[in-house]
Amino acid sequence: MANWLEDIELGNRIELGGWVMDEAEMIAFARKYDPQPFHIDPVAAGASHFGGIIASGWFTVACWMRAMIRQRNEQMLKYQPVRDEGPGPKPQNGPSPGFINMQWPTPVRPGDVLTFSATTAEKLLMKSRPGWGIIRSTNQGVNQRGELVLSFTGQGMVTSKPQS
């Protein structure tokens, strides 16, 4: 369900729902990928400056991604991609070149309920790859107290509309 770069509206905010941060999953993730004491050991975490277990930032952003894909899949089921029909080139999505400005301003703790969102923010043509552009979005997570816990600029490659 791709769009041409030119057809993507900026400032369009997508809500990705509220997600409970499960303690067991949080710790299992950190044991595998980020086994610092304040992510995996309740006793050590309690004695640290965090005062208890906090989520790995990578777990928080992985949960954002899960919410994003869930939303995307639901949209694909709901809407038929009618604009893709007919002759001529079709818009395509490409890989992500990475992220910019990842921030974890407030620790995420077990049981927190995070509300995730994505807002289209900027689009640019790629000089290195004619026919392609990059769409940037401001992606966020906010906890049940309204505190920002995650913010980053995500990027994805999309095709630019051929000149007719």
Partner: protein, 155 residues
């Protein structure tokens, strides 16, 4: 818990280190992505061949997580680490594939003492991840926080 060997004072700007030997498997790529990034190119070997990426590859977030694990194993667990306020950027240069053996070059870019918290300092690193053929897969730049060996001393 491992003994703490490194404090904020121990990472000097300009210093380089190389570490890690992470063997990437198809099973781990699919397992991570099934949970957190279930797109065809990350979870379905056959379908991935028909996507723009040309075959199964790791989620960018999984790639970050693997880098984090290498950083933990090779210095963070022996450091007085206090987490990270965020990262400037991560460039995903090439997809990570099954069979890749990943390693990291760490470069210390700069450090500064925290103004508000004398017990802590920030250090900005660049981590460059390559596979066994020297292909650059990912570059991450950002700050990590460490406890200071001598809180409040002149930096």
């Amino acid at each position: 818990m491992p003994e703490i060997k490194y404090y904020w004072e121990d990472f000097a700007p300009g210093e380089m280190a190389q570490f890690g030997e992470y063997h990437v498997t198809k099973e781990e790529i699919i397992e991570f992505a099934s949970e957190y990034d279930p797109q065809l190119m990350h979870i379905d070997e056959e379908a991935a061949k028909k996507t723009f990426i040309g075959g199964l590859c790791a989620s960018g977030w999984h790639t970050c997580a693997m880098a984090m694990r290498m950083m933990c194993d090779h210095y963070l667990l022996e450091s007085a680490g206090m987490g990270s306020p965020g990262l400037d950027e991560s460039k995903w240069r090439a997809p990570v594939r099954p069979g890749d053996i990943l390693s990291i070059t760490r470069e210390c870019l700069e450090r500064r003492a925290s103004q508000s918290r004398p017990e802590m300092g920030l250090t900005r690193f660049r981590h460059t991840m390559r596979n066994q053929h020297g292909e650059v897969k990912m570059i991450i730049e950002g700050n990590l926080m460490f406890a200071r060996r001598h809180p409040g001393a002149e930096a």
